[in-house]
């Protein structure tokens, strides 16, 4: 099963954050690698959406839709923001 990238969750991210986020920069809390969210590794075919660091593979973000509510875990990120 091939993984996708952060582009595939552009809609979900905009739903959660209220703004376009694929161009935002995420920094991995495990290895420190930083880059656009669009370039993260994304696994969509799961009970939730899992976003992993392209450099070290650790989980950055997890999104689960629980009864129409978005549950979001960003603990794998050190930072997430514009620029």
């Amino acid at each position: 099963m091939e993984a996708l990238d952060g582009n595939a969750i552009g809609g979900l991210l905009q739903e959660v954050f209220g703004t376009e986020m694929t161009n935002a920069t995420g920094m991995c809390g495990t290895c420190g690698a930083a880059g656009p969210v669009a370039e993260c590794v994304v696994y969509l075919r799961a009970p939730g959406t899992v976003v992993r660091c392209r450099n070290c593979g650790y989980v950055l973000m997890v999104f689960v839709k629980v009864r129409d509510m978005n549950c979001v875990d960003l603990r794998g990120l050190a930072t997430l923001g514009r620029g």
Binding site: M1, Y43, R45, A46, G48, V59, V62, V64, V66, C71
Partner: protein
């Protein structure tokens, strides 16, 4: 409610005679969807072990050869994924977890299954004993493929299939029920498909 898409049915068919076998909110599929939260691990068999561990108590580990030397059986089961697909009459070649757990002395009430790649899932001990759970290494008469959890995965068909951890490497015996990977993110601690226990609070 979203507008209906004229003529759209999706892939679902409930085969005749399947009534009563499909839990609420599920649909029957004839293919075998591959769901994953991470890359497929590839542990060579000579490095593979399955361990039952506990804090402050005896543990036991089996190599691949040792595990395959245990008595195994063919299990036919209906499986139900929390993403709403169900697959009927799946056939597995597996070692009963009763066989493995019997070799470790313990009085634990819960287990945390752990897998290559970091996946975990929690289960009551009562649900992985009494002929309800297996370590499966074969599917449909062939070795279990990596994308479906090979070389070996848990098989606990009476619960939602996220509890049947792929690429499983062992069970940690525990006194308390702690949430595993999906349970931490909002999925149900137990996961009975017949009570539609998908999310925490269901």
């Amino acid at each position: 409610m979203s507008p209906i898409s004229r003529g759209f049915h999706g892939r679902r068919r409930t085969p005749a005679g399947a009534e009563g076998r499909v839990p609420p909110g599920q649909y029957v599929t004839s293919d075998f969807p591959v769901l994953s939260a991470g890359p497929t691990p590839h542990t060579p068999l000579e490095k593979w072990t399955f361990s039952i561990t506990q804090e402050g108590g005896p543990s036991k580990s089996w190599s691949w050869t040792e595990m395959r030397g245990l008595s195994a059986e063919t299990v036919t089961a209906d499986i139900h994924c929390v993403t709403r697909w169900s697959k009927l009459d799946t056939e597995w070649q597996a070692v009963s977890l009763d066989t493995l757990l019997a070799q470790v002395e313990h009085d634990a009430e819960y287990v945390m299954a752990f897998s290559d790649g970091g996946y975990t899932t929690n289960l009551p001990l009562a649900d992985v004993t009494g002929g309800q759970a297996w370590l499966a290494f074969g599917y449909d008469g062939k070795p279990l493929e990596p994308e479906h959890g090979g070389p070996a995965r848990l098989l606990v068909p009476h619960l939602y299939f996220w509890k049947s951890a792929k690429w499983v490497r062992g069970l940690e015996l525990r006194d308390d029920d702690e949430p595993g990977f999906w349970e931490t993110y909002g999925y149900h601690m137990y996961g009975d498909p017949w009570k539609e226990q998908r999310y925490a609070g269901d």
